[in-house]
């Protein structure tokens, strides 16, 4: 099976400032279906540029990027937008939910744009299905301010899923979440990945990257390390451990002699 993402000797040079910035200097990368990849690196390492290229937000200066066999460099602005809508889903650090709008309507939004092909009933059903996948179907009518940070990010993941993308791109998806909620969100990603979705995420947290299957480290615009994760963390198990520890702590507190 050909890789879903194929990058060959990719370069990106930003020319807007006084000095041209060579942000990505020759990256080659194959990502196959059902991979779960973490992109790591310090700021300035080129990981955001690489992510923007993967997201068809930016065209490479040099090199080739094939997304599901389509050469992205050849596409014009509208075609780029179309391929984004068909093949990619986006999750951000800041959730980016519309505040006036219920969870369900937020999930429906990506279907409203471009050419409309679905009835509103179909859209509703599909959005509801995506909320079920992330475990928030019961809260479909909640506004973002009635949801916790982790729940908001799950709504954002449901929104990214609604156009049935092949690849999910997540930019620091746990950056605004506490550690326990981060594990919950990683659990959602792991579940989606098992169901066949390819996931690429940027993170700077090593323990978060440990939930992925493959870790990539960038430095100065090149890949300096590319390895499969050994002893991968499984969210379900980690959450169970946390719960056990909490219960133990509570028992200990209750059992301590009163003065």
């Amino acid at each position: 099976m050909p890789p879903i993402v194929k990058i060959e000797d990719l370069h990106k040079i930003y020319d807007s400032g006084e000095v041209p910035v060579h942000a990505v200097r020759g990256v080659s990368l194959d990502i196959h279906q059902k991979e779960f990849l973490a992109l790591m690196g310090a700021s300035g390492s080129g990981k955001s540029t690489l992510m923007n290229t993967l997201g068809c937000l930016d065209r490479p200066t040099r090199g080739r990027y094939l997304l599901d066999g389509v050469d992205v460099a050849q596409l014009d602005k509208n075609e780029l937008a179309d391929i984004r809508n068909q093949k990619l889903g986006f999750v951000f650090q800041g959730f980016n939910l519309l505040s006036r709008t219920t969870a369900l309507e937020n999930v429906e939004l990506p279907m409203l744009y471009g050419k409309r092909k679905m009835s509103s009933k179909q859209m509703r059903e599909r959005a509801m299905h995506c909320l079920e996948i992330v475990g928030l179907a019961k809260r479909f009518d909640h506004m973002p301010n009635q949801l916790s940070g982790g729940q908001q990010q799950r709504v954002a993941i449901a929104r990214a899923l609604v156009n049935e993308p092949q690849v999910l791109l997540a930019d620091e998806p746990t950056g605004n979440l506490d550690s326990k909620t981060s594990i919950e969100v990683m659990g959602v990603f792991q579940k989606l990945n098992e169901q066949g979705i390819t996931i690429v995420m940027v993170t700077h947290e090593l323990d978060v990257a440990h939930y992925c299957k493959r870790n990539l480290i960038l430095r100065d615009g090149v890949i300096v390390r590319d390895e499969l994760v050994q002893d991968r963390s499984i969210a379900e198990i980690e959450l169970a451990k946390l719960k056990e520890a909490e219960t133990a702590a509570k028992l200990l507190a209750a059992g301590s002699p009163a003065h």
């Binding site: 937000l57 937008a81 984004r84 986006f90 980016n96 519309l98 006036r100 709008t101 744009y113 301010n145």
Partner: protein, 263 residues
């Protein structure tokens, strides 16, 4: 003492104290100067005496204020949407908006009377001119202060310009819009009063509160002047209360400025 009780008791106590002070000052003034500060019961007397006149004038001014305010809302909102479209449009039009805002209404009034004649039309236009600026400025600010990330998300999914405006910018601008609406609501009765004072007319169903102010002061009916002030104040409260209710209805379910208790 519970806070809730204090909330009523304290202002009531201050009010009572002020009324006492008021009577005190009135008594302390020499006989020939007492007309300067009519007592509260004298003002109540003026209400009884001029009640019908004041009620009619209040309705008249209220009508001018409401129409001018509504006109300002409609025109202000449309203009704000236009201004939000591009920085170039804002750059081109802002100086003229400023000029319009800076020119005192007193100067406009006689010109307006020449153009459209004294009466309700002039009053509505003057109210409109006073209310319109805060509405435009606040709403425009709201429309362009949308979270950059949200805009990028909309462009990412290739939403149309129209969807971006309707689904993202207008809802995000609502809190700003309501701030403008509230400022305009405090200005509307004042605008109508000033309009009536400078370009009102007693023709037809009689003048508004501004016109009555002129009449009472020229006739030295000071208690009636104080009564007019009280009515104007009440009219202002009415306008602001209506806007607060509107803004609560529009925002409370999703905006953070309203605390939620149902979580």
């Amino acid at each position: 003492m519970p806070r809730r009780l204090l909330q009523f008791l304290l202002p009531a106590a201050v009010g009572a104290l002020m009324i006492a002070l008021w009577y005190g000052i009135h008594a302390w003034l020499s006989e020939d100067l007492r007309f300067l500060l009519p007592t509260p019961d004298a003002i109540l007397g003026a209400f009884r005496e001029h009640g019908a006149e004041l009620a009619r004038a209040t309705l008249n001014t209220g009508e001018g204020a409401l129409l001018g305010w509504l006109l300002a809302v409609a025109v202000g909102f449309a203009l704000a949407v236009g201004l939000s479209l591009s920085p170039l449009v804002r750059l081109s039009f802002y100086p003229y908006l400023m000029i319009l805002q800076m020119t005192p209404i007193i100067v406009f009034a006689p010109i307006l009377v020449l153009w459209v004649g004294a009466g309700l039309k002039s009053v509505v236009i003057i109210t409109f001119l006073i209310c319109f600026f805060p509405l435009v400025v606040n709403t425009t600010q709201g429309l362009i202060s949308v979270d950059r990330n949200q805009v990028e998300l909309f462009r990412l999914y290739r939403a149309s310009r129209w969807q971006e405006l309707w689904l993202l910018r207008i809802p995000a601008a609502l809190p700003y819009f309501f701030t403008g609406l509230r400022i305009a609501a405090t200005l509307a009765p004042i605008g109508a009063l000033v309009g009536d004072y400078t370009a009102g007319s007693s023709a037809g169903d009689g003048g508004g509160l501004g016109f009555q102010t002129l009449i009472y002061s020229s006739q030295a009916k000071y208690p009636a002047l104080f009564a007019t002030a009280a009515v104007t104040c009440a009219l202002g409260f009415l306008f602001v209360a209506a806007v607060l209710a509107l803004s609560w209805a529009a925002l409370h379910s999703w905006h953070d400025s309203y605390e939620r208790n149902d979580q």
